[in-house]
Symmetry: D2
Subunit: 319 residues, 4 copies
Amino acid sequence: MSVFHGQADLGGTGNGPPVSRQEFDELFEAVRTWGRWAPADRGAWNRVTPDHVRRATARVRSGTVVPLALPWNTRSGPDNRKPALHHMTDLGDVEAPEPSTHKDFIAADYHGKGITHLDALCHVAYRGQLYDDRTASEVVDAAGARFGAVSALGPLVTTGVLLDLPTVLGIGWLEPGQAVHAKDIIAAEKALDVTIGEGDAVLLRSGHVRRRRELGAWDPDTASAGFHVDAVPLLAERGIALLGGDGDSDVRPSPVDGVHSPVHALAMTAMGVPLLDNLDLEALSAATAEAGRYEFLLVVAPLNIPGGTGSPVNPVAVL
Amino acid sequence: MSVFHGQADLGGTGNGPPVSRQEFDELFEAVRTWGRWAPADRGAWNRVTPDHVRRATARVRSGTVVPLALPWNTRSGPDNRKPALHHMTDLGDVEAPEPSTHKDFIAADYHGKGITHLDALCHVAYRGQLYDDRTASEVVDAAGARFGAVSALGPLVTTGVLLDLPTVLGIGWLEPGQAVHAKDIIAAEKALDVTIGEGDAVLLRSGHVRRRRELGAWDPDTASAGFHVDAVPLLAERGIALLGGDGDSDVRPSPVDGVHSPVHALAMTAMGVPLLDNLDLEALSAATAEAGRYEFLLVVAPLNIPGGTGSPVNPVAVL
Amino acid sequence: MSVFHGQADLGGTGNGPPVSRQEFDELFEAVRTWGRWAPADRGAWNRVTPDHVRRATARVRSGTVVPLALPWNTRSGPDNRKPALHHMTDLGDVEAPEPSTHKDFIAADYHGKGITHLDALCHVAYRGQLYDDRTASEVVDAAGARFGAVSALGPLVTTGVLLDLPTVLGIGWLEPGQAVHAKDIIAAEKALDVTIGEGDAVLLRSGHVRRRRELGAWDPDTASAGFHVDAVPLLAERGIALLGGDGDSDVRPSPVDGVHSPVHALAMTAMGVPLLDNLDLEALSAATAEAGRYEFLLVVAPLNIPGGTGSPVNPVAVL
Amino acid sequence: MSVFHGQADLGGTGNGPPVSRQEFDELFEAVRTWGRWAPADRGAWNRVTPDHVRRATARVRSGTVVPLALPWNTRSGPDNRKPALHHMTDLGDVEAPEPSTHKDFIAADYHGKGITHLDALCHVAYRGQLYDDRTASEVVDAAGARFGAVSALGPLVTTGVLLDLPTVLGIGWLEPGQAVHAKDIIAAEKALDVTIGEGDAVLLRSGHVRRRRELGAWDPDTASAGFHVDAVPLLAERGIALLGGDGDSDVRPSPVDGVHSPVHALAMTAMGVPLLDNLDLEALSAATAEAGRYEFLLVVAPLNIPGGTGSPVNPVAVL
């Protein structure tokens, strides 16, 4: 894996090479799957047939269950500008016993960097169009989305593949700003003895959460490790259903001129591949290393929010 | 199933027989599992070993995936007094493109009858004590619960068993106020050719959601179908891990003198069995009928809320 | 006051006469004040000069202070479909003493019938245009309003005039659906010995709150007492700054074909007159009756919400 | 004003002299007014009789109206750890026209440093007791406060006095950490030709907001200008009704051993004087300087929140 042979290489921002807007638009066309599926709202999740589900559940060996969600984060910080809310609304003193009850209220403006969440296909539009050529302004309003809502996705049960880059490289984490390229994916597949197949969920571990725990929080909009757009054609070719990671899949700063979140636009808007952001992959890294297997059953069960642009989730890996 | 031989029987409130407080307290002692597990917070989920997980995933046959959550309900009504919130916070006009983004905010005081949710073990205290003899006032405060929080539960992957009473009885639904007894569970097991085993999740379908769709909403605090406390010893004996349903498991009005939610207290506080409330079991009923199998892989993945009393969820059945 | 000579008259819906859309549009043109003021956002509040403020404060006689807000209503009901939230977030157990602190969280989607609030000029658009001919879609987006926001209004200190119709009529309340016409305003002025002048705030008491207390809540969208549009030219001629009431100023059902809230559109969109909805005028009715004076100092101090469409308020009358 | 003769003096933390816990407790006893008033919930607002109201309104000269609230702050920052929420819930696309409507939702956990708010008497307890010797744990629970709630206060109409220290001293602002003492109050009264009288509201301008605008935000918990406890006996002697400022009245760090907010405890818990935190006094400073008068009519109209610990407010000064 040539880009990663030492700390020296990782010291640079490493988000390049730069990509022009025209090159990006050509890439967008190249990976576009508009018109392919019905219902279009489910996009690439249509690839996950009952056969895939059966194969995914058949991968379970040890029965180890690993949750992938960060803790609900109610403290503001550089990576949590819209902290989630958690209020106790009954401490056994509001409703009459017996029994007495404790209740709470949760709230979140969950897109951002602080909360583990799934992005539905209505989340991102490029040049005004959502996936499948739906005009965003016609199908999304203050009442919610009439196309591409999370309620149209439902749950996903499929094979997950962990691209555990720090493990492959024998380092603690990728530095923020480090791009992951197609060749790195191929090298990781080889090193981890996995093959990304059609309908699979690809989870990229950059070591973001470990770095945050050791060094403290930073602003991921300024710098975070993630895919360079040159990795996307490979993922498209493999026919993935879901892309996720401990960042938000995009390397930042963006290498694409005038496009702040190019992997978001390619995955969701062109390919119909929902994203899973801000995962905690540390326990999964340990569990996969122990098992010596980097593929597993993955279940993602978004809340059933009609018109919603996504959902906080707690994805579950079963090894 | 003697209590259900006709519409005449179902016409009554059918929530009896009445149970005295002393009888209830004896029952509470009889099914109590305090001190049995570590970590105690996970209660009966400790029964779900990796072996159970493997067996549960091995039950998958068709690969059919069925979500069990009601839609996020933002409209107030007799069964939704604290409506959930869903606000669009970006319509592609707040943050600069490209791409443009749509974002939203969700919020819920989710205990109640309107939202599909999991109850964690800190939710219910009887005589001031939570499960495992923890004094509620010492471990729950305005900052959250330090014992029995949903973050201590994590996800559950186990075998689900659907007790589809209306299907067994050939009726549309149980009338609100109708109690389900131990003998009805046994009869349903026989009719549906399932056996509730240790570590299983038992889901009771009363037809609540179908009735609501056909006849409109009512106040389930006044009347709902659910278990009579006399069904609990059987569930305890079987060693279930989770109890859920399209109601909240308790028949209402409560047959127990001075205890408004006796099944809650027995399941959660005595037995350490979390509850899953307000499921939509209609699609699962159809899928199990079609498959001719009433057991399946069940995945429940609560949000990772430190100190939380539960979580909205979208449980997933895989047949 | 011819429309009100007896219970028989009030027994009908009394919201007429019907008004055609063309008649309404002519009325809209007739009372329009677009282009008259700078800053246009403050609309008719520009009428309230320092002189008016001085005269208003000089009206104080007894020093009696009367708040006009309903209690923050957290219970859903037919007139409170989006209940306000009130959560205790610290019960002296979250932050370290000494001293210990109690804190809370409040929230509201306050437009509607449950919360006393001020409507800013961006709240209502007619045929796509806000007050002063601003195109709504150009100045309001998911980030808020760039024209006509409540933050542009600031507080109002002026003379308030209570049109206490039930007192004039010697009845408990106007029945829901009863319209108030220009002649009724004139009769009330005479009976109460007040004259509505330029820059004044007109508060219409229909007895809504008293009726709700005695008979229980109803859905005010279905029927509420309020102004017929034929009262608006008189209010326009008088040059009022603010219109308020214990309803939302509009008689409902609307007498205007195809316009559900015609007084809202005339007052706010045509005349630049903010509205004050859902006041509790019962204590003010008693205080004015005791004082024998129906004009007073009125202070309305909306929260300073940039881009906001209004604000919950607690208006204060000083007699 | 000896403590303030130059930048050198202001360069130190200046929060002293240190005060022992015993001295503080003696001070607490010395200024205590428990048992003096009914209703006790209104505390020192009972001093504001109709006579005071009349005198306050009679102070109006120019009719200039000055709002004192900071903008509703939805961005997290060092002085806004729990940002307020503001969501547009209707952009004219949710409810049917005509007219079309724009609506929004506001929310805040408003205690803290980011939002202008009033503290009700239930907000602060010292040694477990609220004002008037009420045991906090007996009167405050998750449903709210049954004593000392903001709904018991209602609005305040009184004489406001601006202690504009930076103007007196000819400086831009007091440095964070600078204490204001009794002698400084007396010197300010002399310099500004005002006398704090019974029932008055005292507003301390430290220049906090100007400093924030010029230098950026900082964490006021670490350092802010405010009253030293040695100023409190003078305020008690004068019989003030309300204490407010552009900080939260307490100098921070606290000079009192083991008491993080000693002025809060003395004012609210001992004296029954509500506090008004985080005012924007810049416009008022300019207006009072122009008028050459530092007293004015002040109206504070908290939202009518039953059981609430305070309220966001937009206090209004009328000169």
